[in-house]
Each structure stands twice: as structure tokens, then as C-alpha cells.
């Protein structure tokens, strides 16, 4: 697909600097772009590459425009504008309307004629697939699953019974939504499975990454609100509730019944305990352990950066004997200033 930069300026509300008739047909990075490509500059990290770019046109903000050697599409949010241009030039591949003959669709399911059901997918009884939904190859939709309009299941997605997916949501391959929550009663040293009778409700405009698992609720539902973005290999336990527009990076684990607020950002490999509440607009940096609730917006951390191994071993050894440091300090305090209360902060 080829489009003039004049049309891009009009369509996406940019100020154009350059010849509006110039056409582009793909996106590229500043350093790899040629005259037929659109690049963008949003992260100052890449600013040094601007001067040497051979891009046909660059999407950037007004502050950077003077330094641009090519045509410029000037706007307040270059990353968002670039995303829209990219979607225009590189549309997601669409399947044809209709059900592939190799798919196994229950006669009791309702699939909108404008939807696509790919090869070797299975759609169970009572499932509903709305208009223009794309069900890629080898997907599994168990009984009672509801798929909203324009949903995109890329391929090999598993939706267990009764799972609901909101409009325009995208699910990457390998994701499993609605597996049984990890619920067991203990009885005489054994575990007795507690049937998980809740479901999973996913809002509109959600993204769910590859091999991510979202468990069904124990009794009530697990809920992912609109606009949530989940990266790959994330664990969402039963009865978790994630507020709108919150984003979780890869390998995060969220334990059962925890509520995460709206517009939070959770870094990679964060572990969040069960039955906690995290309020709106919380940022948690990567590798943090969240073992109690967070009640105020802000940035929270808990990961310790690496060291050269020998030095790290010394640090850990010292840490493990930190109590001895405290005792020696107290002994010294008693000797130097026996009458004074230097120890008020100490709880020994």
C-alpha cells in the first residue's frame, strides 16, 4: 500500500513540512529507512539518528522538527501518530469471511457470517462469535464462549467454557483463558479439588500475550477490564480483577483474589501476593515482590541490581550477618555513651 504524506497529514492531524505528493509505503527505523519509508522520533535515545536518516518522512514533535533532514509530520504525540500510520500501511492479515471446512463448529454455536474461523479450530455448543471477529487457526472455544466484534485471536488460543472476550481484543497464540483456578481444600494431608465455577470476563480493547494464563474464578468471575495490556507468560490467578488501561509486562504473576487498579504499570517478573489491593496509577518496577497492598499512587520497587559474583557473595554474606553489625554497634554505643539514649530506633 502506498499513501501520500499529504494524506497522512490530513488524516492524522499533523503539520506537514515537505512535498505533500511524496508517497511512502512502509515504516522503518530512522537508521534503516529509505525514501519510501516513514520513520518516527519519540524517544530522545534515538535523536542522534535523526540527522543521518534517509527516511522519506519522519513523524516527530515540534521541538525536533528543525533537526529533521527529511520531510516532517509534526504532531504532539509522534508515537501514537506513528502507530496509526503503521496500522494503515501494514494492516493485520485478514481471513476471508466464513468457516474453514476443517474447523469443527458445534451446530449450536452462532458465528456471524462476517467472522472468520480458521482451519482446525473448534467452537463448542452455545458459543457466539460476533461480526468481523477473526478466529485464527487451531483455536479452541469451549461451550458458551462469547467473542465480541472485531476480536482477533491470532491462532492456537484456548478459551475455556463461558469465557467472554470484549470487542477489538487481541489474543496471541498459546494464551489459555479460563483454565481452572488453583483451588484445593486440605483434608488429612491431601488436597481435594474445589470445582471452579466462575468464569473469565475480558473487556474491550484488551491485549493478551503469548502463553499467558488467566484462570477462571472459583465462584465469581476473574475480570480484566477494558484497555488492559498483558504481555507474554503472565499468570493471572482466579478472582483477580485488573482495572482499565493497566499494563503488565512479561512473566508477572498475580495471586488469587487480588485487585489491581486502573492505569497501573507493572514491570517484568513482578510477583503479587493474594488478596491484596493495589490502587489506581501505581507503577511497580521489574522483579519486585508485592506482599502487601498499595494504597497510594506512586512508584514502587524491590529488585536489587546485579554485581560481579565474588563481590555479590561478600555482600550477601555481610547481609546475612547484619544482626552482628547492629549488636557490635550497640555495644560500642553503650561503651561510648552509656547514659545516652542512642538506641531509640533499635528494636533488639
Amino acid at each position: 500500500m502506498s499513501v501520500s504524506i499529504g494524506e497522512l497529514a490530513v488524516r492524522f492531524g499533523c503539520e506537514l513540512r515537505g512535498d505533500p505528493r511524496l508517497t511512502v509505503e512502509r515504516v522503518a527505523t530512522l537508521s534503516s529507512a529509505d525514501a519510501r519509508a516513514v520513520a518516527f522520533l519519540a524517544n530522545p535515545r534515538y535523536r542522534a539518528q535523526l540527522a543521518a536518516t534517509r527516511a522519506g518522512v519522519v513523524v516527530l514533535d515540534a521541538a525536533s522538527a528543525a533537526a529533521c533532514p527529511a520531510a516532517a509530520l509534526i504532531c504532539a504525540n509522534p508515537h501514537a501518530t506513528f502507530a496509526r500510520i503503521c496500522a494503515l500501511l501494514h494492516p493485520e492479515p485478514l481471513g476471508p469471511s466464513g468457516i474453514h471446512p476443517s474447523a469443527v463448529v458445534s451446530p449450536d454455536a452462532r458465528v456471524d457470517p462476517s467472522a472468520h474461523v480458521g482451519p482446525l479450530s473448534v467452537i463448542g455448543a452455545g458459543a457466539v462469535v460476533a461480526a468481523r471477529a477473526y478466529i485464527g487457526p487451531q483455536c479452541l472455544l469451549e461451550s458458551g464462549v462469547l467473542i465480541g466484534e472485531d476480536v482477533r485471536l491470532v491462532g492456537r488460543v484456548t478459551l475455556c467454557r463461558g469465557v467472554q472476550i470484549g470487542a477489538r481484543t487481541v489474543v496471541q497464540p498459546g494464551a489459555v483463558i479460563g483454565g481452572d483456578g488453583f483451588g484445593f481444600a486440605q483434608e488429612q494431608g491431601r488436597w481435594l479439588k474445589v470445582p471452579q465455577t466462575g468464569a473469565v470476563r475480558i473487556g474491550a480493547d484488551v491485549e493478551i500475550g503469548a502463553n499467558t494464563a488467566i484462570d477462571r474464578g472459583a465462584i465469581e468471575d476473574t475480570v480484566i477490564e477494558e484497555g488492559v495490556k498483558l504481555d507474554n507468560l503472565i499468570q493471572i490467578a482466579h478472582n483477580v480483577h485488573i482495572g482499565a488501561h493497566t499494563a503488565l509486562a512479561a512473566c508477572v504473576g498475580v495471586s488469587g483474589s487480588t485487585r489491581i487498579g486502573r492505569r497501573c504499570m507493572i514491570g517484568g517478573q513482578v510477583g503479587i501476593g493474594g488478596h491484596l489491593t493495589i490502587c489506581d496509577e501505581v507503577i511497580i518496577t521489574g522483579c519486585t515482590m508485592v506482599s502487601h497492598s498499595i494504597t497510594r499512587p506512586g512508584v514502587y520497587s524491590g529488585g536489587i541490581p546485579y554485581e560481579q559474583a565474588q563481590r555479590w557473595r561478600r555482600l550477601v554474606a555481610r547481609f546475612k550477618r547484619i544482626e552482628s553489625l547492629a549488636e557490635r554497634l550497640r555495644a560500642l554505643e553503650r561503651r561510648v555513651a552509656p547514659a545516652q539514649d542512642l538506641e531509640e530506633e533499635d528494636d533488639d
Copy 2:
């Protein structure tokens, strides 16, 4: 399904307080239940909800019964009794006996006539599926796989060649059992694959979560004993042995050849090194690194709770200079008490 609470009391050995003819048809939480629902109270966390419940009947222990505004099913272990009632009211969906015509089953496999094989499943040569087993849609059973009675593979489960699954075990979607262990010999800066010739043996009454991976043994087998419960996204490396009735929460990684005892409980995101032994009845809290063996039952930890980010950065900076604290303390000790041996605990 509808059942009288008198029948529930008789069947599950509860003391009934209330009209035995009252019928219920589903489970619910204390706060959402109506007159047709059974709720339960096991966790004191939810005790405040008891007074206001509209449940038809509540499963609880004798100590809580007086505070129950509804009919009561009184028993010693309300969670276990609730699990059984839940299984009665909400039975797992069963497939019809027989093999779906779209499944690809080797003529050399033996599938019990009472078993269910779902659409688009593949069953390899020499595989055996015992009575009443449920093989959900899109499962892959490679050659020589053995499936016990009443096993439930929810759907899209992968069992590589020779894997054995004990009776009544449940496997959630996306689990991969019997993939090659991570075994390579180093040779001149390259890795040479060591064929993994062991298998995986899973006992009876095991649960395996969504997208969990259990590798086949290098030479001998990887073994999961009866009653083990594995949550989602867990990694079990080759030649690991997990003792009966042990439970692992999500995102745990267990490295090769490690033995975990019986009745252990391992929290989420715990990482366990290779060639270790963990004895029976060990509890490890979430996010702990286990780098050496555990020889005594008890509770073990290693995760540090988060802090507000700025405060955390100060703590980490101070930690990284803990050696300097120790040196300054020693200098002070020498000055204050040069003749005394205050440093006996110090290894500088």
C-alpha cells in the same frame, strides 16, 4: 441440578440446622448467594459477611454456627465439605464416550470404549487410554502414552512419547509434559544436544496447570508422585522428583535432578536450583531463591517486600556499601577498645 440440604447433610456427614426439605442448586459466595445457593465459611477473613448472607444454607464449623442467619451444614472441615457439594452441584462437563470423527487415532492405539476423545486430538501408536478418561479437544498424545482411568485432559494438552498419567489426574490446557530436558554437552564453545531418553511418570490425583512444562528425564524418568498439585506456568526440569501431596504455586522453576519431599508447599515464583534435596513438609514462601538443600521441615523465605521507589534506591545504595559500614565500625572498635576482642564475629 437441585438437591435438598437434608440429603447433603446425610451424604457428607454434616449436622444440619434448618429445614431438610429446603433445596439448593448452585454454590455462591456469602455476599452474592441467594436462597437457592450454598455458601461456606472457612476463612475467618470472610466472617463479617456471614451475618448478612442471604444464602439458603451455609457450610461452616460448629464455632461459627451460632452466628449463621440461614440454615447451616455444620462440619469439621467446611472447605472440604464445600468442595464435595460443589462437585455434586457443578459436575465437570463430560464428553460422550467414543472418538470424535475429526480425531486422528493410530490404529495401534487402544482407547477404552468408555473414554472420550475430543475433536482434532491426535493419539499416537501404542498409546493407551483407560476407562472413562476424558481427552479434550486438540490434545496430542504421542506414541506410547499411557492414560489412567478417569483422567481429564481439559483440552490442548501435549503429552510427548511414553508419558504416563495416573488415574483421576487433571491437566489444564497448554501444559507440555515430556518435552526434551535441557541437556547439552559443551564442546569447543558449542553445545551438543544430549538425547533425552527418560520419560515422565505422573501419579494419580495430580493436577497440572495451564502452560506448565514438565521435561522428560535425561536417562531415567522425571517423577511426579500422587496427589501433587502444580499451578500454571511452572517449569519442572529433567529428572526432578516431587513427593506425594506437595503443592507448587504458579511460576515456580525447579532445576534438574532436584528432589522435593512430600507434603511441601512452594509459593509463587520460587526458584529452586539443580541437584538439591528438599525434605518432607517444607513450606517456601513466594519469590524465594533456593540455592542449597533443605534438610529440616519448616518455613523458609527469601523475598524482600517492596518499598516506595526512592526509598528503595537509598536502601539498595546503602546495602551495596554495607562493607564500608562494617569497616567503619571496626575502625571505631579499634579506637574505643583496642585491647578487647570485639571482632570475634567478624571475618574481614
Copy 3:
């Protein structure tokens, strides 16, 4: 398969001690081997088992040969030689050449006649499968995927559009290669998806573990060079570049645009931030957080070994008050040596 140890000695360049006509047919551990089995000794951990082995022949180095009670195949690298013998005695099961009738292959794909395509696999338009490749059951190869010679996709592998796999590479079940990278632009409190237009290029002789996810690049490609070994449940984000012969253990997460060098070894559950560079020949031990680049070869760590829980809580409590220790120490220094500069290392 049965082979004489004389032939093994010749084929793999070993010095033979024992009767060359003796035949073996399988591999086993030192402790479980019988007279028809080959065992090996590479790890000194198992040396005690050598004296009692009943193996027909043992692969070991010259230093251990004297202590071997059986025939011996003596070589410089017993583990590598054992790997080769194991591959000879236990070849990977091969499928017959050709396409299983239940597979759905685009008329526009090119599958070499010597390749195997298993049941219920899907191969999209423009995909190419080279000679002797093994595409196991239920694989998904989207449009434009390129599969090199002798590649082995064990089964249920997902390769999204345009992914390239080098010769002899092995991919375990559940792996998802080429899912969309986690790229979103922020706009007025919402996330706007940035189409991911790059692909994934995997070199030759790579291994990719079960349920591992490798995202496609945002604009340019994600690259895994030759000989890289990835264990299970690993996350590789968009635009990551991993150098040749590097190995990552299970549950590692690598964030976007990070470059890892050649011949690195990354332990389990390591978390690596985005936009970092890790040079060649770096070893990172398990559970380490890598939040800044590593510019020198060596060993790096960041995990803290567990403690008994009560003791751990005390350590953490003390750590959280480490600032108070430092303040008390400074107060003491001022009192004892007010004129001296004992605080040069302190930044308070």
C-alpha cells in the same frame, strides 16, 4: 539397535579398554546400567558410583579409567562422546516423508518431498519447508514461514507469519515464535497498539524449549543466532538479539531491544531489562536482576539464598532500617573522633 563397543571406539575416536566385540543397545546411568548398556562419567559428583557399576561399557576420561570395573571408552570429553553415542542408539523418531492427509497446507506453500508434515498441522501461503524437516502434529506455520533443512518441530509449535528457522534447529511443543511484541503508544491514559512489522530470524542448530515465547520485532527483526539454546518458559521480547552459542535456562525474561553476546550462560529466572547490552562470555547466575548493561566478561549474581522464615523476617526488618545503623555509626564517629574524617565513604 545394537552396536559393538569396538565400532563405538572407532566411530567416536575413543581409546578402548575391553573386548571390542561386546555389544550394547541403550544408554543408562552408572547406577542403573546393566551389561547391555553404555554409561558415562563426566561429573565428579557421580564418581563414587563408578566402582559399583554393572554397565557393559563406560565412557570416561583417562584420569578415571583406572577405577572403571567394566570396559572403558576413554576420551577427552566424555559428555560429548556420550551425547553422540546416545544419538546413535536412541535416534529421534522420524515421521514418514510426506504430508499427513489431515494437515491443512496452502496450495501456495512449498514442502520438500523428503519433509514430514504431521497430522492436523497448518501451513500457510508462501511457507517453505526444506528437505528432511520434521513438522510434528498440530503445528501452525503461518504465511511466509521458512523452515530450514533437518529442522525438528516436535509438535504443537506456533510460528507466526514470516518467521525463519535455521537448519537443524529443534523447537519443543508450546513454543510461540513471532507473536506480536508488546508495543503500545500512550495517548490520553489509554494504550494504542503499535503494529509489529518485524519478524523473527532463528539461526541454525538452535534449541527452543516448551512454552517459550519469542516476539516478532517492532520494525526490524528479533534475532537468535546459531547454536543458541533456550530452555522452557522463556520470554524474548521484540528486537532482542542473542549471540551465537549462548544458553538461557528456564523462566528467563529478556526485555525489548536488549543485545546479549555470544557464548553467554544465563541462569534460571534471570530478569534482563530493556535496551541493554551484555557482552560476550558473560555468566549470570539464577534469579539475578540485570538492570544495566554488562561490558566485561565474567560471572554476575544478584540472588539471595533463602533463610528459615523467622530469621529472614529479622534480616529484612534490619535491612529496611539499615539507614538507621548508618546514622548511629556516624553519630558515634563524631563523638569518638570529631576531628577526623572517618566519613569519607559516606554520602549522607
